[in-house]
């Protein structure tokens, strides 16, 4: 797998499409145990990203991701703004001036993104947040790479692990965010942030053809 600058922009635009298509679904999930704005917030944020990248995407993959992150930080509104914003900015720092990336780079970028999210939100596994989708996905990706699976197969493992993580959020109590005010009443409902993270992984997987 080798992803160039143009492909990265294409993938981000595709993520924006998927978020838009799932706007109501994400908002409904969030409305049950949160403040019911996740879908709308993410759609506003990624719409702004699409416009930003059209106007100026920078010179390399690091720039693209940093601009994406900054735009999310100031256009989402909810917690997902600072969290996804930090994730994309950290991934961008990791990518640096690269103009092409492979699955090993992606693994490093994802590691940096997850560290950023945990640093920003102080969440850990089992808090019923996006970490419950991203951390298992990263773990599965690393394991698949070690086992010598192809890039596409490794990304598939990551997507499956992310969705398994989303499913698991139904069984646990929210310890972060607005849902934490509901304590045990949050059990039985899946986390909206974990769901959007899994959706992002799925989009990346679908867009990678090699």
């Amino acid at each position: 797998m080798s992803i160039n600058r143009a492909k990265v922009i294409e993938i981000i635009n595709k993520i924006a499409d998927r978020i838009e298509e799932n706007k109501l679904y994400l908002t409904e999930l969030d409305a049950v145990i949160g403040d019911g704005d996740h879908g709308l917030n993410m759609s506003k944020g990624f719409h702004a990203v699409r416009e930003k990248l059209k106007e100026d995407a920078g010179n390399n993959i690091g720039d693209i991701l940093k601009k994406t992150g900054m735009t999310l930080v100031s256009n989402v509104g909810g917690a997902s703004g600072p969290l996804y914003g930090t994730a994309f900015m950290k991934a961008g720092l990791e990518a640096g001036s690269k103009e092409e990336i492979d699955v090993i780079d992606f693994e490093k970028m994802l590691t940096a993104a997850l560290d950023g999210i945990k640093m920003r939100g102080k969440a850990v596994l089992e808090d019923k947040t996006m970490v419950d989708a991203i951390e298992p996905a990263l773990y599965a990706l690393s394991k698949a790479i070690q086992l010598g699976l192809s890039s596409k197969e490794a990304l598939k493992e990551a997507v499956d692990a992310a969705y398994k993580g989303v499913e698991h959020t139904k069984a646990i109590i929210a310890r972060k965010g607005r849902a934490s005010y509901l304590a045990e009443r949050s059990i039985g409902h899946q986390d909206a942030g974990a769901t959007s993270s899994a959706l992002i992984f799925k989009t990346i997987y679908e867009e990678i053809n090699v």
């Binding site: 506003k44 914003g85 920003r120 969440a123």
Partner: protein
């Protein structure tokens, strides 16, 4: 004089609290950073940076916030400041309404950032993410 920034998910809360605190401390610089740039509920790091710049002096700025992600947005705003400014800007964990009013009065008495922080300790409600 130390300046204050009120970060809330709601523009009305931030503006209302600015009005309320200003009533007792008319000469204090208070900036409201509530809601998103398109009028939704939420917080916006860029709006917070603008607010900090508005009230910033060498005496420093205290940033007070309402819930959850307001802290994260404020945290990002601080990271975007110049190193020199960042040393003089602090996010404070305090009950927003009571803390802002107390802070405004302390500011108007020309107390230092450290003294104001000390005064507000009793109003802390442990809401910064641990």
């Amino acid at each position: 004089m130390v300046g204050l920034v009120i970060v809330s998910h709601s523009e009305k809360i931030a503006e209302g609290l600015k009005e309320l605190a200003g009533q007792m401390a008319t000469d204090v610089s208070i900036a409201a950073a509530g809601g998103t740039n398109d009028g939704r509920l939420g917080t916006d790091a860029e709006k917070i940076i603008t607010a900090i710049n508005k009230v910033y002096t060498q005496d420093g700025v205290l940033v007070l916030f309402d819930i959850g992600s307001a802290y994260m947005s404020a945290d990002i705003a601080l990271e975007c400041l110049s190193e020199e400014m960042r040393e003089k800007v602090e996010i404070l964990d305090t009950a927003l309404v009571e803390g802002t009013i107390t802070a405004a009065i302390e500011c108007s008495l020309n107390k230092s950032l450290t003294e104001i922080k000390e005064e507000l300790k009793s109003l802390s409600i442990v809401k910064m993410p641990q």
